[in-house]
């Protein structure tokens, strides 16, 4: 979905929910902020970087070091266990994480999966899979987490736990969180909200 006339500023440390109907451009907005989508006109500045002027290599480094992605369908690699899934980003890091597995364990403990380090995705529940995905996003100590419908495949109780996790990452670790959702009511503690309709931003401001 093409976005039209979007002019948006997100403060560092904010917890922003992006809502709107299907096809309103929420995911496109997230992909632009995350440097995954480059086919747009205009300017996208994130963490002081102009994403439009960056090469593929620079954008990849930006995604690796600055952003953590969380997806509705988790996108875990089925042949890797939780620990290996979390360390995926280390394969593409320019700097060498001294002990990637130690760091992975640390973030898995942080998301409450201390006992599931060596479980394969097929052995995990939906909520646990999403926690692994969040741990993967946290692995490289990002400044920004972009979550695309992170509760879309979870029941209400589990959704609440996952959102609680995001809130804690935002509040305790100071990570900026931008979450696309259909379930507006679940993100009660978001500091800001954006509503999109047909690619246009129709509402923006404090939640």
């Amino acid at each position: 979905m093409a976005l039209k006339g979007i002019n948006l500023e997100i403060a560092e440390g904010a917890f922003v929910k992006v809502v709107g109907t299907s096809g309103s451009g929420k995911t496109t907005l997230l992909n632009i902020i995350g440097g995954l989508d480059t086919g747009y006109s205009g300017t996208a500045m994130v963490a002081g970087l102009n994403l439009r002027s960056m090469s593929d290599r620079e954008l990849s480094r930006f995604r690796n070091e600055t952003v953590g992605f969380v997806f509705q369908h988790f996108h875990l690699l089925d042949h890797l266990d939780a620990l290996q899934n979390v360390t995926l980003g280390s394969f593409f890091s320019r700097g060498e994480e001294a002990e990637p597995e130690e760091r992975a364990e640390q973030v898995l403990v942080r998301v409450g999966l201390k006992d599931k380090l060596h479980s394969l995705p097929g052995q995990l529940s939906g909520g646990q899979k999403q926690r692994v995905a969040i741990a993967r996003a946290l692995f490289n100590r990002p400044r920004l987490i972009l979550a695309d419908e992170p509760t879309g495949n979870l029941d209400t109780r589990t959704s609440g736990q996952i959102i609680g996790l995001f809130e804690s990452l935002n509040k305790e670790d100071g990570i900026t969180v931008v979450a696309v959702t259909h379930e507006d009511h679940l993100f009660r503690r978001a500091t800001a909200g954006i509503r999109l309709e047909d690619g246009r931003m129709v509402e923006a401001g404090p939640a």
Partner: protein, 452 residues
């Protein structure tokens, strides 16, 4: 992405998709094993041609007197002592080994019943002697007019293994060498059909001395002037430098015989000289100097070796191209496999891009997988090809009947064949995976992650 990390990642993917890669790699294995088989066979045959049938060291040439031609104003030049001295002075020449024809005809009357009892006793002591050999030797009756020449003993010092190859004291048998090619033909056909003992390194020491008459002919008495000389000859070895259709004696013996029977001039003319250059790369300059002296270079042996070698190479090249075509078809199969896998892994590739993989990383991962499949396929193919070579070699040596120059091994295993087999497999696999790798690298991560 660092090589170590790439290796880890590629290894994980290969393990995950091993079944697909095993099927895709079968063609590579078959193609590379055929490649190894044909190259090995060609190499083995070329080795036999260059070392057994037409041997010639790379730093040696055969210098011959120039034949006089009507359109050649320079005329011919004889190969005499002065010419030999001049050849030795050419820069880069390490040694000159002259050879001289016996200027008179000679005959051998090999009559079994006339062989001295002590010589028959010598035959009976041959290792593995067959009773029929003694019968065949006793009944043997062969009257031959035989050519002879003399050769510089230094040239054949490694061939005269069973006696001293030099002019003997009066009354002693003259040491002779036989051509390895002649012996090969005798062993593989004549000796078998006549139940005669073969001529080989084990039996040569037990061969009897044979009577030899110099200045004698069964063909034309008109060629015979003066006295006949009666002597005995004893085989002391075989040599590639020995006369193909005759016997080769020490040079001094022939020189003496020529002097006695044909005078001083015949004792000072040589029909050929083997010239040894200090190194093979100096040979072309030496050849120029030889021609400038008015002498010729006999390249017939070298040309024959090259012609046969070329024919073998051409046939093997055909087979090698067929095997490489098989590898090429396998590479197309590899391409299909990778296209299929990439189609299955679209979301995964999108995820890798999201966590920081560059397009180059994605391309490197796919090509790395292809290289590893090629590497494994190549190693297995080389091993399978070599196993086939060993098996055929053993069967051929055991089951094929004896024939001239039948080698102990039909195959050669040059290092470049083994390395080339693996390298070809890797190159073809990487080439096959190039288009799928480019497609994977070009995937739009936002589309693949959203399943579009």
């Amino acid at each position: 992405m660092k090589a170590r990390k790439l290796g880890l990642f590629v290894g994980q993917n290969l393990r995950r998709n091993r079944r697909s890669f095993i099927f895709a790699g079968i063609g590579i294995v078959v193609g590379i094993s055929s490649f190894v088989f044909f190259i090995g066979l060609g190499s083995g045959i070329r080795r036999v041609v260059s070392t057994e049938i037409f041997p010639m060291e790379a730093n040696r040439i055969q210098v011959v007197p120039k034949m006089m031609q009507f359109d050649d104003a320079s005329g011919g030049r004889l190969l005499d002592e002065a010419a030999l001295a001049e050849l030795r002075r050419i820069p880069g020449v390490a040694a000159v080994y002259p050879r001289m024809k016996l200027a008179v005809p000679s005959t051998m009357a090999m009559v079994g019943s006339r062989i001295a009892p002590e010589e028959v006793e010598r035959i009976s002591r041959m290792p593995g002697v067959q009773p029929e050999w003694l019968v065949a030797v006793r009944d043997f009756n062969s009257w031959l007019e035989i050519m002879a020449d003399g050769i510089d003993p230094r040239l054949v010092k490694n061939d005269a293994l069973f006696g001293t190859f030099e002019d003997p004291p009066p009354g002693q048998p003259i040491p002779i060498l036989l051509s390895k090619r002649l012996v090969e033909l005798y062993n593989s056909s004549f000796s078998r059909s006549r139940n005669l003992p073969p001529v080989n390194d084990i039996l040569i020491p037990y061969m009897p001395a044979l009577p030899w008459t110099v200045n004698d002919s069964f063909v034309s008495e008109a060629q015979v002037h003066g006295d006949k000389i009666y002597a005995h000859v004893r085989l002391v070895g075989t040599s590639h430098y020995a006369l193909l259709g005759g016997i080769t004696l020490p040079l001094d013996t022939v020189r003496k015989l020529n002097r006695r029977l044909r005078g001083e001039r015949a004792a000072g003319l040589y029909d050929m000289a083997v010239l040894e250059a200090a190194s093979s790369d100096r040979l072309s300059k030496v050849q120029e100097a030889v021609r400038a002296m008015g002498l010729d270079i006999d390249l017939s042996q070298k040309r024959m070796a090259e012609s046969v070698g070329f024919a073998v190479t051409l046939v093997m090249l055909g087979f090698t191209l067929i095997s490489l075509a098989m590898v090429g078809i396998a590479a197309v199969n590899i391409a299909h496999t990778f296209f299929m896998l990439i189609s299955e892994r679209r979301r995964e590739i999108g995820l890798l891009r999201a966590v920081g993989a560059t397009r180059q990383d994605v391309r490197a991962m796919v090509l790395g997988e292809a290289a590893l499949v090629g590497g494994f396929g190549g190693v297995v193919g080389v091993a399978a090809g070599m196993a086939a070579c060993f098996l055929i070699d053993i069967l051929a040596v055991r089951l094929l009947p004896e024939f001239p120059f039948k080698p102990e091994h039909f195959f050669g295993y040059p290092w470049w064949m083994l390395a080339g087999g693996v390298a070809a497999a890797v190159v073809f696999c990487v080439a096959g995976a190039f288009a799928p790798a480019s497609r994977a690298a070009g995937l739009d991560p936002s589309s693949t992650l959203s399943g579009r």
